[in-house]
């Protein structure tokens, strides 16, 4: 997951934070698992910091990296 650009953020303004009533933006986030960390860019609420992990990402790349780490 060294590659930060594995997830392309969807067209601007598609996702809204319900709490803050503002659009999610491309932001810096980090995945952590079994004492390993991976910097990533994901849709983030600029106000409350809610980080969105889309379904296809969770079931695709995230799952694959989880499995690889589990067998380290």
């Amino acid at each position: 997951m060294a590659d930060k650009n594995y997830y392309t953020i969807d067209p601007e303004g598609k996702l809204t934070c319900l709490k803050c009533r503002c659009k999610l933006q491309k932001g810096k986030a980090k995945f952590l698992y079994l004492d390993n960390g991976f910097p990533v860019e994901l849709p983030v609420c600029p106000q409350c910091g809610f980080v969105y992990v889309p379904e296809e990402l969770a079931l695709g790349k995230v799952l694959a990296v989880e499995k690889a780490l589990e067998d380290k």
């Binding site: 598609k14 809204t16 709490k19 999610l24 932001g27 004492d35 995230v62 990296v65």
Partner: protein, 754 residues
């Protein structure tokens, strides 16, 4: 009781799974790679099995290459060999053994010799051979193959005469072929020589490094037959009996020359020579007796070769979907698992196979030497848990499910009206999860008909953590159950499930009976629903080695009118349904193959006595019944999903508390409703997401208000972290709450780093 994720992929403890000796002792049990009987019997190490296979496939060239590998003069050997290989053929037990000699001759007749040149460089070491007999003839051939500089001194005028002198009894065609092979050899010949004279001259001048002499030249020399060496001069010679013995003697002599050429004692470190003992096991089950087919052309040679059963042992793999999936025999698999557990850093490629075994013990029964791969995998799992290398992900759902059974859904009560009970009914977690109505009926029946009171204990026997290799949790679970039993006055346990019976029997000082034994004693209840149909009876892997249980089940089935059909792999040989060892959770593909393996034995409806088997067979679309359903005329739920399996356990506990112990359970009102689309329900079952997980996500939402809206789909999306997992839910709002459209999860933690 807590279940913890491994802390890190960088830090772990170390412990060996077995000592080297234990590993080797286990590996020795697997005879899969032992030589076939024919191969083992040949002192020249002919791969007769491979040669026969080549001929069966019509590949006479390959057969010839295999045959020529063992001797420089195949024509002599094919004719004169006593063929111990033929005598040891396994087929003699049924009919006639393979005519290996006829196949050797077929290879010589119809095979084409490859034109390949030897890649070995010619050795500078010279060997002098004096006088012609069978031993020196074969030795010359062996040494030329090894690229020694060979010089032959003999009294005969040419190759033909030399062959004639060595093997007068051979056929003219074999003699001619051998003479040609001899003349074509890359060796020097001194024809019409006096070998004794030549020897004394050569020996004085010490031109050759080694000397071999025909036995007739110096008939009184004492020879070490293992080496074909006469001490102290290290002269190669010896008396041989027949073609095979001479060919073998030449091999021994050639090896002695190799050793002496390196200035080493010929007696040391020679490796394995000659015929060997084989420990191979080969089943003749299903093989028809047959007679030898006279070989007269290619077709008849192929037909004769096709009678060969290519002896090998695959008793375990034939019965086991797991071994078939990984295409590995226990010896190799054990070695790879051992190495996997020993490596420190890097990828652990065998974690998946370690966690995919059903630990069911079938291989241990099928193997002629009792090789139990399940035991190896279970030890490996415990080792990985100890060293901190076992990931939690493959087993977490099952372990949490066990905690649910032994906490929220746990129940231990004496029968109403009794303080102490003579018995306690322990139906097992899967029975309560899949067939709560059956469990209820069985308990009420036992309470009515058994004297002395029957307590009830709803919970998990500990098999789950035992299978997961979580040895600490396992001993905690045993202690917990022991304590719960003590509070009931240590009654006799009536297990509803053979795996529970086995697990609970491990508790100190308990008596465990199967519910089937009690039912036989009491007679079947009025509620029984006779089913006078042919059924395939599937024995539970939990009842392996428990012949009394297997017999009892059959008697009850018979009393119910069932016509139990015989299936292959029944009784102690039964395969696992795919639930055992937690395969269902760790590797769905293998688990499914296990279920298919069970179901391929018969097209009939399946009757089982383990609720997990019953459920897995039904999921594969087979009509499936648990014995207790017939006994009590009740029906199990049809393929309940993971949430329903929890709901059933909790619901049964609450129902019985109310009905028998007059206790109402406080139900917590969420204050909102959650509806699920059918797609969401199916998807959650597949992704192992429980409705209780979704409830917690919504409770978190209501506390924090954290959610987003996807403008494209109009769906709301929220999430909550629970334990080691983040659950995401896509939903719509409804008047009273929410409608779930989709749910997914990941184990990685995600944090903001703005």
């Amino acid at each position: 009781m807590k279940i913890e994720e491994r802390a890190s992929t960088h830090v772990y403890r170390q412990r060996q799974m077995f000592t080297k000796e234990e590993l080797e002792a286990r590996e020795r049990l697997c005879v899969h790679e032992q030589p076939a009987y024919c191969n083992a019997a040949c002192p020249l190490k002919l791969d007769a099995k491979a040669m026969t296979a080549a001929i069966a496939a019509g590949d006479f060239d390959r057969a010839l290459a295999l045959y020529e590998r063992i001797t420089p003069f195949p024509h002599l050997l094919a004719e004169g060999c006593e063929a111990p290989c033929e005598q040891s053929c396994k087929l003699w037990a049924l009919g006639e053994g393979i005519s290996i000699r006829a196949l050797e001759r077929a290879a010589l007749t119809w095979g084409t010799k490859s034109r390949g040149k030897s890649f070995l460089r010619k050795k500078p070491t010279a060997v002098g051979i004096f006088g012609g007999d069978l031993l020196t003839l074969f030795l010359a051939g062996e040494l030329v193959k090894k690229r020694y500089s060979v010089h032959i001194y003999c009294s005969q005028p040419d190759a033909q005469a030399l062959v004639e002198a060595c093997v007068p009894e051979a056929s003219p065609s074999a003699k001619a072929a051998t003479a040609k092979a001899l003349a074509d050899m890359d060796a020097e010949f001194s024809w019409n020589a006096d070998p004794v004279l030549a020897y004394s001259r050569e020996e004085r001048q010490l031109k050759a490094a080694s000397f071999a002499v025909a036995q007739a030249l110096f008939p009184d020399l004492a020879v070490e037959e293992v080496l074909m060496v006469s001490r102290p001069h290290n002269l190669i010679t010896g008396k041989t009996r027949g073609v095979l013995d001479a060919a073998f003697g030449a091999k021994k002599a050639a090896l002695s020359i190799d050793r002496m050429a390196q200035k080493l004692d010929p007696a040391n470190t020679r490796g394995e020579e000659g015929a060997v003992e084989t420990r191979l096991y080969t089943s003749l089950e299903g093989i028809a007796p047959s007679e030898r087919i006279p070989v007269s052309d290619k077709a008849s040679a192929m037909a004769e070769a096709k009678r060969c059963i290519q002896c090998h042992c695959e008793e375990c793999i034939r019965g086991c979907a797991y071994l078939q999936h990984y295409q590995k025999f226990p010896r190799i698999l054990t070695r790879e698992i051992y190495n996997n557990v020993s490596i420190i850093m890097g990828d652990h490629m065998m974690n998946k196979p370690i966690n995919a075994c059903a630990l069911c013990g079938q291989c241990g029964v099928l193997c002629p030497n009792g090789y139990d791969m399940g035991e190896v995998c279970r030890i490996a799992r415990e080792n990985m848990v100890f060293t901190g290398k076992m990931p939690l992900a493959p087993h977490e759902f099952a372990l949490m499910d066990m905690l649910f059974s032994n906490q929220e859904a746990f129940l231990a009560r004496p029968q109403p009206g009794f303080n102490r009970c003579r018995y306690v009914f322990f139906p097992g977690c899967q029975a309560a999860a899949i067939a709560p109505a059956t469990v209820r009926a069985a308990y009420l029946d036992l309470c009515t008909r058994l004297p002395g009171g029957v307590a009830l204990m709803l919970g998990c026997c500990g098999a789950i953590c035992h299978w997961a290799g979580r040895y600490e949790l396992h001993s905690q679970t045993k202690a917990f159950l022991k304590e719960a039993l003590a509070q009931l006055g240590d009654p006799i346990i009536i297990a509803g499930c053979p795996t529970c019976k086995k697990e609970l029997a491990d508790l100190p000082g308990v008596t465990v009976l199967g519910v089937w034994e009690i039912l036989e004693r009491l007679g079947l209840p009025q509620t029984r629903r006779p089913d006078p149909r042919p059924v395939a009876l599937h024995d539970a892997c939990g009842a392996r080695g428990d012949g009394e249980t297997q017999a009892s089940i059959r008697r009850i089935a018979q009393a119910l009118g069932c016509q139990v059909a015989d299936t292959p792999y029944s009784g102690d040989q039964a395969p696992c349904c795919g639930y055992g060892g937690l395969t269902q959770y760790t590797n769905r593909e293998v688990a499914r193959k296990m279920t298919d393996k069970c179901l391929e034995r018969s097209d009939l409806p399946y009757l089982s006595y383990c609720m997990a088997c019953r459920d897995r067979f039904a999921r594969e679309g087979r009509e499936s019944m648990h014995l207790l359903e017939l006994v009590y005329g009740t029906s199990a739920d049809h393929c309940p999903d993971i949430s329903a399996k929890r709901y059933n356990r909790l619901g049964l506990k609450q129902q019985l508390l109310k009905e028998l112990w007059k206790e109402d359970t406080q139900t917590v009102d969420l204050g909102f409703t959650i509806a699920y689309t059918p797609e969401a329900e199916a998807l959650m079952d597949d992704r192992m997401i429980l409705k209780s997980d979704v409830i917690q996500v919504f409770e978190h939402l209501r506390q924090t208000g954290e959610a987003i809206c996807d403008g494209e789909t109009g769906l709301y999306i929220t999430r909550a972290r629970q334990g080691n997992v983040t659950f995401w839910v896509k939903y719509r709002e409804t008047d009273a709450g929410y409608q779930v459209i989709s749910a997914y999860s990941h184990r990685m933690k995600v944090v903001n780093r703005q």
